[in-house]
Amino acid sequence: MSASRSAKKMKWFAVAALAIAGGAFAFIALGGLGENLVYYWDASEMKSAGNKAVGATIRLGGQVVPGSIQFDEGTSNLAFEVTDGKEKVAVRSVGVPPQMFRENIGVIVEGTLTKAGHFESHRLMVSHGNEYQAPHEGEKVDTHELMKTADGVSPDEVAR
């Protein structure tokens, strides 16, 4: 076994390793990030995004519209409306809402906008800002501030 032969082998090995690495990076560049972004929007932003919102993963923040909550105990189907003070979005989800869920409270729902026009949520989080107050008539809710304080957005954050 000559040294040059094993050096050649070594070179092939290096090329193979780099090819794997390069392939993985292409994999990242092509598919990974872009498809799996989660957008943090309020109702107005989502409406203005138009068709882009359909199928995209969205974290929609807003306030629960009074009188809009409908919950079926038998099927756990939940429907309500979320508003940022200007636009309203109908939200549907399956699951028991958390204890704090009620009219006028700030919520974050994660899911996507369906073609039918309602928001299909698979995750419901309630804001737990201690100073939260319902906004005055016509005032816009700061939904982005709300997202910082929502329960379950990043629950570990406090701990570590």
């Binding site: 990030l33 799996n36 989660v38 204890q99 201690n130 379950g152 570990d156 406090v158």
Partner: protein, 675 residues
């Protein structure tokens, strides 16, 4: 008074670290006396930091609300254990606690190497104490917990309720810190190797040990964090690719890679430069992680400057990065050995691949974690990177690492013939097929689950085979003695692999086999969950000084027979507006039954319940215990017995001849090891 004393202790620690660092970089390299003084200053730094921490605990326990940190997190109603752990429940206290652990490591390392590494020791002490300067500065200035409050309040709010809610909060943060902070020591050792231009066998041993100790704590700390999330947060999972979780995972990935590449340095005298690079990167990632989790940058890129802590960390990170890059650029050429990899089929090649995969994993996780920050800073848009990205990227790489954990130890070092290659790699496939069959028979269908099971079974086969290898040679008693003495480091490495394989298999099974349901139950109502029936029996309340709890009682029936009675609860802390749930978990080796209260009305008439069957989750915790045991085996010094056995083997080679390794699993001496 206490606040004043605390400030002075921290300032004195700052002075000790600064003078020690200066001495280490200058006079200590030339004079033994100066080196001794550097060590003394390291001890003084540790003592002062310990003193400041004891003082803060005293202030917490005596409810001295004139100390700013106590006013922030203290509460007379808190139980004593909560008051004690309040030290690390909030930002300023946790950085003070960080200083204490840094002191422990600095003093420990200084003592441990007091008679070693004459050439490298001044550099090592200097770099560690320079890090001490930064943290002492942070505690003295931007994150000072010892401000004096002129009109102290009568009582405080107590720490965050989520943190009070589970006993794991006592052990999780200290363990994680022991991992994070401990990476300062290998960083200093690697920097010293670069400064001196030499990474000899002795220093390499120190580097390996100084990596292994914090690596073990970091491994345990990460899992404990997941366990805490599982036991407290109530969403039925233990990992969500949260930035805070990722921050702890990143240095673990590079440290794991470094531990493996250090073994190639040991064996083949190559990759010295690469290993030091990985170690430097590990340290920088711990600082980046601390910056990300402690500065509040994830709450908003734009608001983190409201406190000085974030920018201070960023400056330190930048300085560390510049230091590392310049040091590497200037000195890495000196470390390159003459050896090379002779054969792509050898064990060292699999180590290279392992390193490649770990670096790719690090890159993937780092990109997904930092990307939202970049977007928000550049475009002022809020986004996050969803879990599917991480799963899609990390699962194939994780499975590849799991498979390599089987392939690597099956292959010999050096040259390997094709015949040897196949005879080493084929038999373990039986283990893979066995695990796969069991998985399919139990109903597993997800493609990645099946791939993971095969690779896991393969690796378990190789690992167990390698562990019992010494037993197949010579007399049992002697083999056992060899296994636990001279072969202990090697054994420990394989035990760690065993634990990691168990964890990865459990993660794959639990994330693909989850069964869940949500239901609203009135008293006596039932809900179905897989083969189980859940019956809501009613609720009760319990009152503690700092909270009241509403406890739901749910019976779990299977085939009409009661298998468990679970009591998930909702805790109302007096200082918090919202209730905090505590899920109830019934663990068996096969699966966990996990019940979480979503809502419960005052009289306990209506219960909103979320229930999960999480298969095999307990194996994550068991695997971690196995990992810890393995780490202990490979960290503890071999002891006197090992020396005697090695001696007797050398004297009388005929009585215990180490037979030529057949499948190439060379067991020559304690040099052989997997970690």
């Amino acid at each position: 008074m206490i606040a004043l004393l605390g400030r002075w202790l921290v300032l004195a620690a700052l002075a000790a670290a600064a003078s020690g660092a200066v001495l280490g970089f200058t006079a200590a390299r030339k004079s033994a006396g100066a080196l001794q003084w550097t060590r003394r200053l390291a001890y003084v730094f540790a003592l002062l930091m310990a003193g400041a921490n004891v003082l803060m605990e005293y202030a917490l326990l005596t409810h001295d609300f004139s100390v700013s940190y106590v006013a922030q997190v203290g509460s007379r109603a808190s139980p004593t254990w909560v008051t004690i752990v309040s030290l690390w429940s909030s930002l300023e206290g946790s950085i003070l606690f960080w200083g204490f652990i840094l002191g422990l490591y600095v003093a420990g390392a200084a003592f441990w190497m007091r008679k070693k590494h004459v050439e490298a020791q001044p550099w090592i002490l200097g770099v560690m104490l320079a890090c001490g300067v930064f943290f002492a500065f942070l505690i003295a200035g931007p994150a000072n917990p010892f401000h004096t409050i002129a009109n102290p309040p009568m009582d405080g709010p107590g720490p965050n309720a989520l943190l009070q809610n589970h006993i794991l909060m006592v052990v999780h943060p200290p363990t994680l810190y022991l991992g994070y902070v401990g990476m300062t020591v290998p960083f200093a050792v690697a920097a010293a190797a670069l400064f001196t231009g030499r990474l000899g066998a002795d220093l390499l041993k120190t580097l390996r040990l100084s990596l292994l100790v914090p690596w073990t704590f970091l491994s345990i700390g990460i899992v404990l964090g997941g366990w805490w999330a599982y036991e407290v947060l109530g969403w039925g999972g233990y990992w969500a690719w949260d930035p805070v979780e990722n921050a702890s995972l990143l240095p673990w990935l590079t440290a794991t890679a470094a531990i493996h590449s250090a073994m190639v340095v040991e064996r083949r005298k190559i990759l010295s430069g690469w290993t030091t690079t990985l170690v430097l990167a590990t340290f920088l990632l711990t600082i980046l992680g601390t910056f990300m989790t402690r500065s509040g940058v994830f709450n908003s890129v734009h608001s983190f400057t409201q406190s000085d802590i974030g920018p201070t960390f960023l400056v330190f990170l930048g300085m560390g990065l510049l230091f590392s890059v310049f040091l590497l650029a200037a000195r890495i050429g000196l470390l390159e050995g003459k050896g090379r990899i002779e054969d792509p089929k050898s064990r060292e090649s699999t180590f290279l691949l392992n390193n490649l995969f770990f670096v790719m994993l690090t890159f993937t996780v780092l990109l997904g974690t930092v990307f939202p920050l970049i977007v928000e800073a550049a475009q002022n848009r809020q986004i996050s990177v969803g879990e599917p990205y991480f799963n899609r990227m990390a699962v194939p790489l994780g499975v590849a690492v799991l498979f390599l954990m089987g392939v690597g130890p099956a292959l010999p070092w050096g040259k390997v013939s094709w015949k040897k290659l196949w005879s080493a790699l084929l038999p373990p496939a039986a283990g893979g097929v066995l695990a796969l069959s069991i998985g399919v028979a139990l109903g597993g269908r997800a493609p990645w689950l099946l791939v993971t099971l095969f690779c896991g079974g393969y690796t378990l086969w190789v690992t167990v085979d390698a562990m019992i290898l010494p037993l197949r040679r010579g007399k049992l008693a002697q083999s056992l003695a060899v296994m636990f003495t001279v072969g202990r480091r090697r054994l420990g490495g394989y035990v760690i692999h065993l634990g990691v394989a168990a964890i990865l298999i459990a993660v794959a099974v639990s994330s693909t086999g989850k069964v869940t349901t949500e239901a609203t139950l009135r008293r006596g109502g039932t809900a179905a969950l897989g083969p189980y029936t859940l019956v809501y029996q009613g609720s009760s309340t319990a009152t503690d000084p700092h909270r009241t709890a509403t406890i739901a009682h749910v019976d779990v029936l299977k085939d009409g027979r009661q298998v468990a009675s679970l009591s998930p609860r909702m805790n109302h802390y007096f200082t918090m507006r919202e209730p905090v749930g505590t899920p109830a978990v019934h663990s068996t080796l096969k699966e966990d039954l996990y019940l979480s209260v979503m809502s419960l009305d005052q009289g306990g008439e209506v219960l909103g319940l979320r229930a999960f069957i999480n298969p095999m989750v307990i194996w994550i915790w068991i695997g971690t215990a196995i990992l810890s045991l393995g780490a202990l085996l490979s960290i503890l010094p071999p002891g006197k017995l090992a020396g005697r056995i090695a001696l007797s083997r050398r004297r009388a080679p005929a009585s215990a001849p180490p037979p030529a390794p057949e499948a190439g699993l060379a067991l020559s001496s304690s040099e052989e090891g997997t970690a």
